[in-house]
Symmetry: C2
Subunit: 321 residues, 2 copies
């Protein structure tokens, strides 16, 4: 296998699978599709799999209709399995099985925490996104003004950088995007699907939650409890709820924002965001979760009230303002 670029070693007769993490997002789907479309130009047999339903807003991605929901009973075997945007094997859900059913695993990622589970590991933790890593791999091969591939890569880069504002955004990121736009990427159309197709009810839900926000610890903390009944009343998906936390973090003086989302009987998902120096990955660890310094999460088995009380206790002793 070509040590710098495994794609250069592929033959038409190779059977290839392309997979990514559970709960698909813009970068996992963007990189999945960009690499999948690329590999189809070389190999005669390419399967692109997901583990979960694809959120509505990503359904505009080119060739997304060729993606297959992975069937855990499948016994198909592959020469190569390309794994994208996935820090460890457990994030693959059911499709983890494919790792055993493939001769060679190629692990392509940008997470600093990647466990190097592949036979070949192409990890660039300076890259903004898996899409940025994929761009570098395919540009040497056949990435010649392919609008579909550019559209997928742009989507992954834009979503994983919060439209070029997160600190993973680099000069290189903008240089790559400049090259992608030259192929004719329609950023208006992409923005329309990603950001301008919200339901009226989800916007009203956001309004309800924001209007009720309260700060504590002299304005440094915002805690947002979301009961299941509220999600049902406004008919919002779990996925639509998570954006709320960023509005709370963006309030002047707020250092930590925590979203407590009731997702079942005695089951609450915690989401943490920080603005400056507080490391919320440590806070999440206290609840058996994990993540990054500025964004982390955990799931606890409590009522919403108990979860909120526990959080307040931890905040007072742990963060210790």
């Amino acid at each position: 296998m070509n040590k710098k670029n495994p794609i250069l070693s592929l033959k038409h007769s190779d059977k290839v699978a392309v997979i990514s993490h559970i709960n698909p997002d813009g970068d996992s789907l963007g990189s999945l599709m960009a690499l999948g479309i690329s590999l189809k130009k070389i190999c005669g047999y390419v399967d692109i799999f997901v583990n979960d339903v694809i959120p509505e807003r990503y359904k505009f991605l080119p060739e997304i209709e060729t993606v297959v929901l992975y069937d855990e009973n499948s016994d198909k075997r592959y020469d190569y399995c390309f794994v994208l945007d996935c820090g460890d094997e457990d994030r693959l859900g059911y499709s983890k099985k494919l790792l055993r059913q493939s001769k060679s695993i190629i692990n392509i990622d940008h997470h600093v925490s990647n466990t190097m589970f592949g036979h070949m590991n192409i990890i660039d933790n300076k890259a903004s996104s898996a899409c940025e890593v994929v761009y570098k791999l395919i540009k040497d091969c056949f990435f010649i003004d392919d609008l579909d591939i550019s559209t997928c890569l742009y989507t992954g880069i834009a979503t994983d950088t919060g439209n070029f504002v997160y600190d993973n955004t680099s000069a290189k990121t903008h240089k790559i995007v400049s090259k992608l736009l030259k192929t004719g990427v329609d950023i208006q159309q992409i923005s329309y699907h990603l950001y301008q197709s919200k339901s009226l009810k989800s916007v009203k839900f956001l309004g309800h939650v924001l209007n009720k926000l309260e700060t504590s610890y002299e304005g440094k903390v915002v805690i947002i409890p979301i009961p299941l009944t509220l999600l049902e009343e406004y008919e919002v998906s779990e996925d639509e709820v998570e954006g709320v936390i960023n509005y709370a973090r963006d309030i002047k003086g707020v250092e930590v924002a925590v979203l407590l989302k009731e997702i079942g009987r005695n089951k609450v998902k915690l989401g943490f965001r920080s603005k400056n120096d507080v490391d919320v990955s440590k806070l999440a660890l206290e609840f058996g979760g994990g993540g990054h310094k500025k964004a982390s999460g955990a799931t606890v088995f409590n009522t919403l009230e108990e979860a909120k009380r526990n959080l307040e206790e931890k905040l007072s002793t742990y963060v210790g303002w």
Copy 2:
């Protein structure tokens, strides 16, 4: 004067004024400061003027403390007056007077509607922002890794493109930003000032308004009336209110969003946004205003209720769905 680049003709003895439009925004202030800082490296006498108070969130811009509120009683005369981001003379407010008090007017802009009021007019309507035009002018002169200038230019480009999503964003825009970031621009710090310093009250205000949104014309129109009493209750600035309209436009199915902001007794400011094909500049014209196809505005002298009724009448006959 050098016909391609007037900056190349400047001498140390030249007296220079730099001005921009009323109601300063990220691009007017970014281009004002980037050019102002640059010109100070050449000329011994450079005055940078504004007409209005600088909004709090732009006060992080390098050297912004050297900017002077224009005094209409001043009789100072200049060799050159550089005018930035300004489509016509009337948008200059009081500082329009400077045009008569300067030997040479250099008009630098990106608006397609620019009236070419300068002795020299450097107008690039393909540029995303005035900052993009300024970048091209100063890069040939002395734009060598100057972090302060890059910070100003980045701020103008980012704000005028809505963080690189509006349709004025081009491959060239990203290429320029890539070069700016190489000088060490701290996008985290800039984002912090621009977007992450909202008051709790302004976020609660947003929540209140979003929660009460209603659509009409089968979901194609959203009208948002904001009474003065609401602005007073939540202590929000006029400037903070205007973002609300984008949330309304981003609802699925909405084609036109209209914000009616009561700004005084019998005085209402209308803001129009459209998503796809409706040309809201024409709609604004019906109320004596103007603007672009997707964003326009007008001011009417009515009560909020009358203004809303008039709007609904115009919508039914004019848009005619």
